[in-house]
């Protein structure tokens, strides 16, 4: 498997660390509902098929990425994007082929947990 990193370009998946479900929202710091915390800490969906997930370019630029991957075929369905304060920076290594830009609807979905506080 190869993962496109917007900073480093297309790299072998062995350089990355899996970061889990990217649809999970961390409750706000002052959230007191224990149930909300249990959801965040323990409950995951484990879908068969497309899944939005985080990957960390541990052996590369150390950026956190978000991408959509099919858990059955391991095909990456959306072009990985940076998350964090650098999320809106243009890619320094635009992909040469493969990978399609994702629609704004999905972008909305991804940016939500990022800004949640």
């Amino acid at each position: 498997m190869r993962i496109y990193c917007p900073i480093c370009g297309e790299r072998d998946s062995s350089e990355f660390t899996y970061g889990g479900d990217a649809t999970v929202h961390r409750p706000a710091m002052d959230e007191t509902d224990v149930e909300a915390w249990c959801q965040y800490v323990y409950n995951r969906k484990n879908p068969r098929g497309p899944m939005l997930e985080y990957w960390h370019h541990t052996q590369g630029c150390r950026a956190w990425l978000v991408l959509e991957r099919d858990t059955v075929t391991h095909k990456i369905l959306s072009q990985p994007r940076l998350v964090g304060p650098w999320a809106d920076q243009p890619a320094s290594n635009p992909p040469t082929d493969g990978g399609s830009d994702t629609g704004s609807a999905e972008r909305e979905r991804v940016s939500e947990p990022v800004g949640a506080e």
Binding site: M1, R2, T17, G19, R26, P27, M29, D30, E31, T32, V34, W37, Y40, V41, Y42, Y54, H56, T58, R62, A63, W64, T73, H74, K75, V83, G84, P85, A87, P113, V114, G115, E117
Partner: protein, 1000 residues
């Protein structure tokens, strides 16, 4: 006996170059170009080995990678390699091979009595016999059974050869170099695409040298040579013979092994034995051909029973006759041509037995012209001969009732060439495809719909004719190149003259009834699975093909059932009254052929397995004779033993020296993270469970980091260097994990915080100077710093200089003594270390290792890795006060979960040995003195040491109820070693409970 070298023929061998080799210690000769199998056949060797379960004599079935029987042990000593297919071994001067699974010799094997009991060792025999009430007897018999079953034995010496791992990239990878593969490679090559052509065997060309047709006026073998020569002139083509593409992985990544030096005695200098290739291909053409399949009949495993095309291969490619008097047994047309070619080559063909009643007339006439007796509508019902085929019984056969139609007759023969049709080699394709599809006309599975960028062509796709393969290859090669973006150029196809039937005009024939009883009919020759085993499994309820496979082990041997898969499925289908597609097929998995562990490991062996991390003072430790110990990837000094000292003597001496005067220890391995930014204080306050918001500049604080679920993750001190900069230290073990954790929080959870984190572990050298004389020592070493208690109080941090070297000095204590940590830029580590040692000379300063470090911290009850085991909370560790109730931080909301507040949780305690014996880490803490009265485990021992301060054996442990049990007596038991030490529960701080020593 049987096989012999023909006086002529053998397109692959060089009769002018004789090669000496030995088999089971016998000196034999062959020719350059021979395989071990062809050379052994030429030397009248029919018997190659003994079978896996019954120790039945076995010969050679095939001439290629599908071989299930002719497995030998190659070489000897450290280069010994068991279970090697003799059909794949290229002969070389001095080759040494030995047969397997026989004792004392191949011809006389004691355990072949297993064969007499064959009816007892049916599917599931061991489970049925040794499970349930007789289970205990398995313990007794296992050793003997395991010894009796099996194949070759590996060696115990390290492999002296080198294996390499390489990567390759191409536009089009063509797997297989038969007519399909050659044309595909050519078509892709002329378009300009970068092409890799991988061929498993040493010679490119696949089965072309076996074919009767002429191509462009040349013999098929010559055409192959010419085409290979042409391909080798293309700069964009890489030819890879001796390369098995064994697996198809995600993103069109293929794994392959190139046998670089398996065909020579010892690899040449600077040459690996094998190379492991990771090939990234944009498009793949799978042209892996087809595998001929045998027919299942009584005695079909007798040495001398071979596949028809293999007999042809040995004659045409190696000039070796498989027998003096050959019988051909077929259900299709192609084997007639084999008979004719062999006869024309000078071999004696005793008869041709065809299960079909009405074969094509011209073939019948061709046989008659060569005086080959013809038995249409007949089958071979039984082969006899034991160690070598002596003859077969044939009988008339009714294909509708699948029964014999008359009494059998006996024909003498020493080689039976069997053809039951062809199965496409769909293995590689099925690694990356939907379920294979069954094709009625060829009675075989073809690749299912691709799930990756490949196309199958030729025989692998069910097109068996030569002209069809050439056309399919050309089309597939052009299409693959086209998909990558290379314009297709129409490639003229070679003109094919002659023409041989493609074998698809076949009568489905899987199994022949025995004359009487069940007979010994083998489906899977490598795992000794019989037709009766398949039926038994079905009777016992194993309906699914996946269950059948696992219960009988059919197709689970190292050959993955290349010659047995379809026969097994057909027999099962018949037993169930279903069709083969209804029964379905199991999925093939990588590797297509066994891969040596050496090839997979490559150069990542020994010291190359992972990098070793060395501290800036490493050479000094080694020069002082320290015992270096691996701590993760780091090497750390354990003790600095003096002459005559044991490890225990040494750490006790070092510990005392620190308590009495002063010592220095290398702490460069601690994780160090630079935390910078306007929001750094807020960030740390959210990350640590204790308060960090108000830590002043110039001060350090011990911090406790929890996981989101409230369990303790890591600890360390963090130093505030300026309003916006901190130096965080972590445990050695969690250095990488903590950095990732912080990056995760800053990217995903709190991207609005203006903070940057950077690992600076390797940029700093660190050393701790501890003991009552630590201040005096450092005062003598530093030039511009006041180290008095007032100027540098406990937990204070100050920059300063040792000579001209800038350092950071923090007054921290892990040992409980007056102590300082001195950090310098890594390249200055050694001079700083030496300056401190020099300054400490008047006080008898010593360097101490991790053992003394551990002893000092256990005496003080400080927790470390063994206590931060991923299950303990701050409260469990007596650090409940550090889990703030006044702020929100990672893990804060989970602290009050029932499970974490249970009063019976394991909590930190101190333990003192009451008998004076040492306490073993990992011991269980129980109440009773004997096994019968021990009762349940109440906890365990985490860290142990001899305490020089107390002159007692002490430990830290986690026990139910914790300090509520203070004063209780328990036993620390370690049943595996028979240890049982009485201990008393005490407070975890053994020494200097009020901490007065470090506050001076």
């Amino acid at each position: 006996m049987s096989g012999y070298r023909l006086s002529s023929g053998g397109s692959q061998i060089d009769r002018s170059r004789r090669v000496r080799f030995s088999f089971d210690g016998r000196d034999l000769g062959g020719f350059a170009g021979d395989t071990l199998a062809s050379a052994l056949l030429a030397n009248e060797q029919t018997l190659f080995g003994r079978s896996f379960k019954y120790h039945r004599p076995r010969g050679v079935l095939s001439a290629g990678a599908e071989e299930p029987s002719a497995l030998v042990t190659m070489r000897g000593g450290a280069r010994v390699e068991p279970n090697t297919k003799a059909t794949m071994v290229e002969l070389y001067e001095g080759l040494e091979a030995a047969s397997q699974n026989r004792w004392p010799s191949l011809r006389f094997d004691v355990l072949s009595v297993n064969s007499l009991f064959g009816n007892f060792l049916t599917a599931g025999f061991y489970y049925k016999t040794f499970m349930g009430p007789t289970r205990k007897s398995w313990m007794f018999y296992e050793h003997f059974i395991r010894r009796a079953a099996g194949l070759g034995a590996g060696g115990f010496e390290a492999d002296p050869d080198r294996y390499e791992g390489l990567h390759a990239h191409c536009d089009v990878l063509v797997v297989g170099s038969g007519p399909t593969g050659l044309m595909a490679a050519r078509a892709a090559a002329v378009s300009g695409a970068r092409v890799i052509l991988a061929e498993e065997m040493a010679q490119l060309g696949g089965m072309l040298p076996n074919e009767s047709e002429s191509l462009d006026g040349m013999g098929a073998g010559d055409w192959a040579k010419a085409t290979v020569a042409e391909l080798s002139t293309y700069e964009n083509v890489t030819l890879m013979p001796r390369t098995t593409v064994y697996g198809y992985f995600d993103d069109n990544v293929m794994a392959a092994v190139e046998r670089v030096a398996d065909h020579v005695p010892v690899p040449a200098e600077n040459t690996p034995r094998q190379r492991h290739w990771t090939i990234r291909a944009k498009q793949v053409v799978i042209a892996s051909g087809a595998i001929e399949r045998p027919v299942v009949f009584d005695g079909n495993d007798t040495p001398g029973v071979m596949l028809s095309d293999a007999v042809r291969s040995y004659a045409l490619r190696f000039g070796v006759a498989a027998g003096r008097k050959v019988i051909v047994f077929t259900n299709n047309d192609r084997a007639y041509h084999t008979a004719l070619r062999l006869a024309d080559q000078g071999m004696t063909i005793r008869a041709l037995v065809d299960a079909r009643w009405a074969p094509p007339q011209e073939l019948v006439e061709a046989l008659a012209a060569r005086d080959i007796e013809h038995f249409p509508g007949h089958v071979v019902v039984k082969a006899e001969g034991g160690k070598a085929l002596e003859g077969v019984h044939i009988a008339p056969y009714d294909p509708h009732t699948k029964r014999l139609k008359g009494s059998p007759r006996w024909l003498t023969t020493d080689a039976l060439a069997v053809s039951g049709g062809w199965s496409p080699a769909i293995h590689l394709a099925s690694h990356a495809s939907d379920r294979p599809e069954f094709r009625e006309d060829i009675q075989a599975f073809v690749p299912g719909a691709p799930e990756q960028a490949w196309r199958a062509a030729g025989a692998c796709n069910g097109d068996f004719g030569l002209a069809a393969c050439l056309a399919a290859g050309a089309e597939a090669g052009a299409a693959a190149a086209g998909d990558v973006g290379f314009g297709a150029t129409a490639l003229p196809l070679p003109s094919v003259e002659g023409g041989e039937p493609d074998g698809s005009a076949m009568l489905p024939l899987w199994e022949v009834p025995a004359i009487k009883g069940r007979g010994k009919k083998f489906v899977d020759l490598q795992h000794d699975v019989t037709a009766e085993d398949v039926r038994l499994a079905q009777r016992e309820g194993f309906q699914s093909v996946e269950h059948l496979k696992r219960y009988t082990t059919l197709g689970m041997a190292a050959d993955q059932g290349k010659t047995s898969n379809i026969n097994g499925l057909a027999i099962m289908a018949e037993t169930r009254g279903a069709t083969i597609p209804e029964v379905g097929t199991t999925r093939f998995r990588p590797p297509y052929n066994p891969v040596s562990l050496g090839a997979i490991a490559g150069r990542e062996i020994g010291a190359h397995f992972r990098p070793v991390r060395l501290t800036p003072m490493h050479d000094w430790h080694v020069a002082q004779g320290a015992d270096m110990l691996a701590a993760g990837a780091w090497l750390r000094p354990r003790v600095y033993r003096q002459p005559g000292e044991s490890v225990t003597d040494a750490y006790i001496r070092e510990t005392r020296a620190v308590r009495d005067s002063v010592g220095i220890v290398d702490v460069s391995t601690l994780g160090k993270i630079d935390v910078q930014g306007p929001d750094a204080a807020e960030f740390l306050n959210r990350v640590y469970s204790n308060g960090f918001a108000k830590l002043p500049v110039g001060k350090a604080r011990y911090g406790l980091m929890l996981r989101e679920d409230g369990i303790v993750y890591d600890d360390g001190t963090t130093w505030r260097l300026s309003e916006t900069q901190y130096l965080m230290t972590t445990t050695t073990a969690n250095a990488a994990g903590v950095l990732t954790h912080l990056e995760h929080l800053l990217s995903i959870v709190w991207p609005e915080l203006r903070v940057q984190v950077t690992s600076v572990t390797e940029q700093w050298a660190g050393m701790a100077v501890s003991g009552p004389n630590a201040r005096r020592t450092l005062e003598a070493a530093v030039d511009d710093m006041d180290l008095s208690n007032e100027a540098l109080p406990f937990m204070g941090v100050r920059p300063g200089h040792l000579g001209s070297i800038p350092v950071l000095i923090a007054r921290l204590s892990f040992s409980g003594e007056l102590a300082y940590e001195v950090y310098a830029e890594a390249n200055y580590g050694m001079p700083v270390w030496e300056k401190v040692l020099e300054a400490g000379k008047p006080y008898g300063i010593i360097a101490y290792g991790t053992e003394a470090l551990g002893a000092l911290r256990i005496e003080k009850g400080h927790v470390a890795g063994p206590e931060l085991d991923g299950r303990t909370t701050a409260a469990d560790l007596g650090l409940g006060g550090m889990a703030s109730r006044k702020k929100h931080y990672i893990g804060s909301m989970m602290l009050d979960r029932e499970g974490l507040t249970d009063p019976n949780r394991l909590k930190l305690v101190g333990l003192v040995s009451l008998s004076g014996e040492s306490i073993r880490p990992g011991s269980q803490l129980v109440e009773g003195a004997t096994v019968a009265t021990s009762g349940p485990s109440l906890g365990h021992v985490s860290s142990t040491t001899y305490s020089p301060a107390l002159e007692k054996q002490v430990a830290l442990g986690l026990v139910e109820g914790g300090l509520e049990r203070t004063g209780h007596r328990l036993y620390a038991i370690y049943p595996l070693k028979g240890h049982r030490v009485p201990v008393e529960i005490v407070e975890p701080v053994f020494f200097d409970k009020d901490g007065s020593r470090m506050h001076v």
